[in-house]
């Protein structure tokens, strides 16, 4: 709290602006809109939906990008096969749900299978070319192409959707007023349950990752490795094991994100590169190697996509890259990236 007070006394005007913006935004979300505002901005339901969809889409991006950013932070390894791990996880998750009928069961299975593939990749491939960034990048591109073709061969070109369980299908009512009936009765917003569940899961996973990184011995090692790999290795830590654990975890996270993506979007060839690109944009905006950065970047990109799609469909594709360009121009290390 001390730093926050410091900040507010040093920049009183900025603090005021931020507070006004936050209060205004909270009012936009909570209060029923007066007719004048509805005329200017469209119905409140549309606005609320755009915001919520942006945040839930951000949750998905966060799940994909968190593993990517962790691997990069620790190993300086840009894993361009990350999107393939996402797609593979989604396909395997589809198979598990089809065979067993249990959506939740797909998550541990995929985490283990895709995590094991990550272990294999790190142990057999990347360990052999440590520190050779160009070579690693080229090899990961190669692996992603091979994996994409193998998946096309096995699962074919049609698209798949992972079946969400019946207790998550359909909409739920949120305690947010979307409009007022003429008799003054409030109409509450209804929103897809599955997306709320995904948002909740992403928040839980995000906090769990933060907890492990900041409160456990493994987290301490990882943070030390991110800061200075060589000193950590010199102090007797078997850094290869840390690398293996982190790579497997990152791969497993990508795989689980694939199930989630397959549940509320769909899986088909090409989704791998789409999510690789999304992860890249997210970590560039948020800051390479930073988990809170990935969360912030993911929410910003998710919101930009959804608000753009609803209010300016023609330019929605541009917003994402515009944000990336602005961040690169003014804060090249990313919003929460450490200056090195």
């Amino acid at each position: 709290m001390g730093t926050l007070q410091n900040l507010s006394t040093r920049h009183p005007i900025w603090t005021l602006i931020v507070v006004v913006l936050v209060v205004g935004f909270a009012w936009l979300i909570l209060a029923p809109w007066p007719p004048g505002l509805e005329q200017a901005m469209g119905r409140k339901r549309v606005f609320l939906n755009a915001i919520l969809s942006g945040i839930t889409l951000g949750a998905l991006y966060f799940l994909v990008a968190s593993g990517f950013t962790l691997v990069f932070g620790l190993m300086r390894n840009v894993n361009l096969a990350h999107g393939s791990l996402y797609l593979l996880g989604g396909y395997i998750g589809y198979g598990v749900v089809e065979v067993t009928g249990y959506w939740l069961l797909a998550f541990p299975v995929v985490f283990i299978v895709v995590g094991a593939l990550g272990l294999l990749l790190q142990h057999q491939v990347f360990r052999r070319m440590e520190g050779e960034e160009l070579r690693q990048t080229l090899v990961t591109i190669g692996i992603s192409i091979v994996l994409a073709d193998l998946m096309l061969w096995y699962w074919g070109g049609q698209s798949y959707q992972v079946l969400s369980p019946s207790w998550l299908s359909g909409p739920m009512t949120l305690p947010l007023i979307s409009s007022l009936r003429s008799n003054g009765e409030a109409v509450y917003l209804s929103y897809p349950q599955v997306r709320i569940a995904i948002l909740a899961a992403a928040i839980v996973i995000g906090f769990a990752m933060w907890f492990v990184l900041n409160r456990s011995r493994l987290g301490m090692l990882i943070r030390a490795g991110v800061d200075d790999r060589d000193i950590l290795a010199a102090s007797g830590v078997k850094i290869q094991y840390v690398f293996l654990a982190v790579f497997a975890f990152g791969a497993g996270m990508a795989g689980m994100a694939g199930i989630i993506g397959g549940t509320f979007q769909s899986l088909s060839p090409g989704e791998d590169t789409r999510f690789l690109l999304a992860s890249l944009v997210v970590v560039i905006v948020g800051g390479m190697g930073s988990i809170p950065g990935a969360a912030l970047g993911a929410v910003i990109i998710g919101l930009a996509e959804q608000i753009g799609l609803v209010y300016a469909p023609t330019y929605s594709v541009v917003f994402t890259f515009l944000i990336m360009a602005v961040v690169l121009a003014f804060r090249p290390q990313g919003l929460l990236g450490a200056q090195r």
Partner: protein, 418 residues
């Protein structure tokens, strides 16, 4: 090649008179064999072979020889391959191309070789034969706006859906296909409450779904491929229950064969397009049978694809016109061009004629998605509109005055709608 030699050899035995004629006509098949439409392109080649085999690779008393030139659906490759066909392979006639922007490129290229002939494969951009058409470019398939025609009147008159909101893909085919639906729908007295456009390749439509108005009879969806599936998936998750109307590629075989529940939202959805798989007309049924007999089951689609049908009809047109002029391609192919323009072509899809822009008028089929009973979905034919013209039944001036397809064209009120 073996089949080709076999066929010509067999023919030489049967028709000694024709075999004596030394002259051959070279035909280039310009088709996408790489990229998204590769499988459809391969079906195009199969269907050219099918039509030629039926006449023993002979037309107008001359032997037909084919050369395949593969494109990747980009206009640049298409033009390069077309040039190769004309300049190196010395072909007389090109059958193709397959996709919209390739068609526009070939319209422009064909103007540089006026003494050759291009018969369109299956490309469907309106502009190809509407804006500055080329005198030696002939199209025997309907364009994207014609494919949408007939559906509007069907939903107003048969379904009683008079007020709709629309969500369509924000690119040329999305506008064109929507125009075909909207012209018909508005003329029948329908009302378009809201038009929403979504960028091609969007994957998260939650915000757009929230924007759809509640007080409409149905929602028109003009998307395709994975966009359709993502939309339907999220529409179900949001609890959407409205009646749906589909554009031509909204409920095609790529969407209906996807794995998952999203497609189930389409049951009962009317769509329209250039053919119906279960068309009972004998000419269609016998064509499907010929196709199925000609190729082993693992080397073809269950029934001919849209691309296959297009190339088949193009080949039929070439054969008929060559027969009419007795294979005479002299004098800059003038007689051949005239014969093509005047054809009253019997095709598996019904009779096709060309207008003054050398663009086909023909039949549009209206289908509804239905459950086969075993969980798989199929399109059932529920209607057919014959003789749909390029100007959708309007005069050329009225059609031109409406403007080229765009986000705001057509103006529903001007057409008698609301």
């Amino acid at each position: 090649m073996k089949r080709f030699i076999g066929a010509t050899a067999a023919l030489a035995l049967m028709l000694p008179g024709a075999a004596v004629a030394q002259d051959t006509i070279k035909v280039g098949i310009l088709v996408a064999l790489e990229g998204t439409f590769a499988a459809g392109g391969a079906d195009g080649v199969r269907n050219v072979e099918l039509a030629l085999k039926k006449v023993g690779y002979m037309a107008g008393g001359k032997k037909i020889e084919t050369v395949v030139a593969a494109t990747d659906t980009t206009p640049a490759t298409t033009t390069r391959q077309a040039r190769k066909l004309i300049e190196q392979d010395k072909v007389d006639i090109i059958l193709g191309p397959l996709s919209g922007s390739e068609g526009i490129a070939m319209r422009d290229y064909s103007k540089t070789v006026p003494d050759k002939t291009v018969i369109n494969g299956i490309s469907g951009a309106l502009e190809t034969t509407w804006v500055n058409p080329s005198p030696n470019f002939f199209r025997f398939n309907l364009d994207g706006s014609q494919w949408g025609s007939g559906l509007g009147a069907y939903v107003v008159n048969k379904k009683g859906w008079k007020r709709v909101a629309t969500v369509s893909a924000d690119y040329s085919f999305g506008y064109t296909n929507f125009l075909g639906f909207a012209v018909d729908f508005c003329k029948a007295g329908g009302e378009i409450a809201e038009r929403l456009w979504v960028p091609l390749g969007s994957s998260d439509f939650a915000g757009v779904i929230a924007k759809l108005p509640d007080n409409v009879d149905a929602i028109y969806l003009g998307m395709g491929g994975t966009d359709s599936i993502n939309f339907l998936n999220q529409y179900q998750q949001a609890g959407g229950k409205a009646n749906l109307i589909g554009g031509t590629i909204m409920a095609d075989s790529t969407v209906l064969s996807s794995k998952g529940k999203a497609k189930d939202a389409l049951i009962g959805t009317p769509t329209s397009g250039p053919f119906a798989a279960d068309n009972p007309a004998p000419e269609w049924q016998s064509y499907v049978k010929e196709y199925q007999d000609a190729f082993p089951a693992d080397k073809r689609f269950p029934i001919p694809s849209l691309f296959g049908v297009g190339y088949h009809v193009a080949t039929l047109a070439m054969i008929s016109a060559l027969n009419e002029v007795k294979g005479d391609l002299s004098d800059g192919q003038k007689k051949f061009h005239a014969a093509l323009s005047k054809l009253k072509l019997q095709t598996p899809l019904g009779v096709v004629t060309l207008n003054e822009n050398r663009q086909a008028s023909g039949s549009v089929f209206i289908t509804e998605v239905s459950d086969k009973g075993d969980g798989t979905l199929t399109n059932k034919m529920v209607g057919r509109v014959d003789n749909v013209t390029q100007t959708l039944g309007m005069t050329a001036d009225a059609f031109r005055a409406m403007g080229l397809p765009s986000r705001t064209t057509p103006d529903c009120k001007a057409l008698g709608g609301k």
